[in-house]
């Protein structure tokens, strides 16, 4: 219990320092331009790196058939989000498709 609280304290400190980087320490802290450019690519690298394996290997090994509800659901989420720019709508539609796929094919 005690150890998990230290783990959480560390996570909290790291998260707060990132969020406060400019808002609180802004006047003093200047990120070099190269770092800022690199930061720009962090989300577009990390999120696909999380999404793609979860969609293609949802059970730990390859599942590359149209019956894979994770794969179909992810493609639907991406397509709706790109078309409508509405994250919430994309989540709801893709979740419905995911559930339907599970019922039908799994």
């Amino acid at each position: 219990m005690n150890s998990i609280l230290w783990l959480i304290a560390g996570m909290a400190a790291i998260t707060f320092l990132i969020r406060a980087s400019f808002l609180v320490f802004g006047q003093k802290l200047q990120f070099p331009a190269g770092v800022k450019r690199a930061l720009y690519y962090v989300p577009v690298a990390v999120l696909p790196a999380l999404v793609v394996p979860m969609a293609l290997l949802p059970r730990g090994d390859w599942w590359l058939t149209p019956a894979n509800p994770y794969l179909i659901g992810t493609l639907v989420a991406a397509a709706v989000a790109i078309r409508t720019k509405k994250t919430l709508l994309a989540i709801m539609v893709s979740f419905a498709v995911y559930l339907a796929w599970r019922l039908l094919f799994v």
């Binding site: 406060a20 962090v42 990390v46 999120l47 999380l50």
Partner: protein, 236 residues
């Protein structure tokens, strides 16, 4: 439109985000209990870390028995984008007192950033500070509430997490990132990161995620540097 105090306007404009975040609070609470966290630890994480995606990843890593430094590194990577939000809000918030910037920094999420930045950018800087408080407090209360509901559900229905709620996290990440993949460098970053994540799938301590993030950033910067001189040549 009826005149509304900036604080309430901040709450009002954040309502769609609350609806979106609620299921994830719920799922987080459920998964955390499933991963063996106590209800108190789960709620402490929601109260003090307050960062949905890194809480999800941390709970998965705790379940897998990963070492602390790895969980901290992952927290850093997953939350780095918040530094960009922090930088983007600073021009508006520079004159706000430290006593406001400190809690607002703690409460800075994707959702509140999107709502508040839009308000400030579209010229309603007046009342920006209470507006930001309204948005932040709504998100925070919502997250705590639904984490707690998730903890209760997870304790009552232990099989809930296996039932497919994990897809909601996948859908959220996909829906957030897909519209961002517009430029060639962003696509290169995503492709390289995905390839490395697949190749390194199952590496211990989520090192695959770190390697994928590094590969993605390098690929993005490389594609950007290739693009720039070409444009100049075309212009010359």
């Amino acid at each position: 439109m009826k005149p509304v105090s900036p604080l309430l306007a901040g709450v009002r404009d954040t309502v769609p985000m609350l609806v979106g975040a609620a299921p994830f609070g719920l799922i987080f609470g459920t998964l955390a209990v499933g991963a063996g966290l106590s209800p108190a630890a789960t709620l402490a994480m929601s109260a003090f870390v307050f960062a949905g995606s890194s809480q999800f990843v941390a709970v998965t890593l705790i379940g897998a028995g990963a070492a602390w430094p790895v969980i901290w590194m992952t927290t850093l990577v997953v939350n780095l984008r918040h530094a960009l939000y922090s930088a983007a809000l600073l021009p508006y918030a520079r004159s706000w007192p430290l006593s406001a910037r400190l809690p607002l920094a703690f409460w800075l999420t994707d959702e509140s950033y999107a709502v508040v930045e839009h308000r400030l950018r579209t010229g309603l800087a007046e009342g920006g500070m209470p507006y930001a408080f309204g948005s932040s407090l709504a998100m925070y209360g919502n997250w705590l509430l639904f984490s707690a509901v998730g903890v209760m559900l997870g304790s009552e229905l232990p099989g809930l997490a296996d039932w497919g709620l994990d897809f909601a996290m996948l859908a959220t990440f996909a829906a957030i990132v897909a519209p961002q993949l517009k430029s060639r460098p962003s696509l290169c970053a995503a492709a390289a990161a995905s390839a490395v994540a697949l190749a390194g799938h199952g590496w211990p301590y989520k090192l695959d995620l770190m390697a994928a993030a590094a590969a993605g950033v390098v690929a993005g910067l490389w594609a950007e540097s290739r693009q720039m001189p070409k444009k100049e040549e075309a212009g010359a």
